[in-house]
């Protein structure tokens, strides 16, 4: 009852949907955080291998796999749509890199580093908000 009163007080200044979404949002999940951390770490470390085309292609494939893993994990947690969207964005970025390696194995070292930078930056943004989810 008290919870309902509190929610009613706050809801006077907010739309019902926003309030409900926020109240029901999925909490912090260690596995989710570990996966996004792995993506960030892989993106950082794999940049060191960009000179080696064969190794880079394998690394980008591995990174793509990890992003899919995060997306699959986040998608089926109830009230977790925002995190699932972020995970989808990371999949998209990794797929862009993967697709280019599939199209042309002679990808330049510069591209490899810049694409990994994009993935690393995005994973860091996601990691910061995922880490602040309610405990």
């Amino acid at each position: 009852m008290k919870k309902l009163i509190a929610v009613a007080i706050i809801s006077t200044s907010l739309s019902g949907c926003a309030l409900w979404d926020a109240y029901m949002m999925a909490g912090y999940d260690t596995t989710e955080y570990a996966l996004v951390n792995r993506i960030k770490t892989q993106a950082d470390l794999y940049a060191e291998d960009c000179k080696d085309g064969i190794k880079s292609k394998e690394n980008v494939d591995r990174l793509y796999f990890t992003t899919i893993e995060l997306k699959n994990f986040a998608t089926n947690i109830p009230h977790n749509e925002d995190t699932a969207k972020l995970a989808g964005n990371l999949v998209e970025l990794a797929k862009q890199g993967k697709d280019l390696y599939a199209k042309n194995p002679n990808v330049t070292e510069t591209f490899c580093k810049l694409k990994l930078q994009q993935i690393g930056r995005s994973a860091e943004v996601a990691q910061k908000v995922i880490g602040k989810k309610p405990r």
């Binding site: 008290k2 919870k3 009163i5 509190a6 929610v7 007080i9 706050i10 907010l14 926003a18 309030l19 979404d21 926020a22 109240y23 949002m25 925002d82 995190t83 969207k85 972020l86 964005n89 990371l90 998209e92 970025l93 862009q96 890199g97 697709d99 280019l100 199209k103 042309n104 990808v107 330049t108 510069t110 591209f111 810049l114 694409k115 994009q118 930056r121 995005s122 943004v125 996601a126 910061k128 908000v129 995922i130 602040k132 989810k133 309610p134």
Partner: protein
């Protein structure tokens, strides 16, 4: 990623492309990546807003609980 950072990245990619350091396909992929980075920022902001709201709701619940 804010607009200034996106503009900076765009300039860096264009410079690399004009200098022949990356191919046209690579340049295109990087620009598409910038679009995704913009989406990441927006989605992260939305999640952050909900987290702040969630904190406010729980603080209000605690306050009301203390009343009775």
């Amino acid at each position: 990623m804010n607009l200034q950072q996106i503009a900076q990245s765009y300039e860096d990619y264009t410079t690399a492309y004009n200098a022949g350091q990356i191919s046209a396909d690579e340049y295109k992929s990087l620009l598409e990546g910038l679009e995704v980075e913009k989406a990441v920022s927006m989605n992260a902001e939305e999640l952050q807003y909900k987290e702040q709201l969630n904190t406010a709701i729980n603080a209000a619940i605690s306050a009301v609980s203390m009343l009775g």
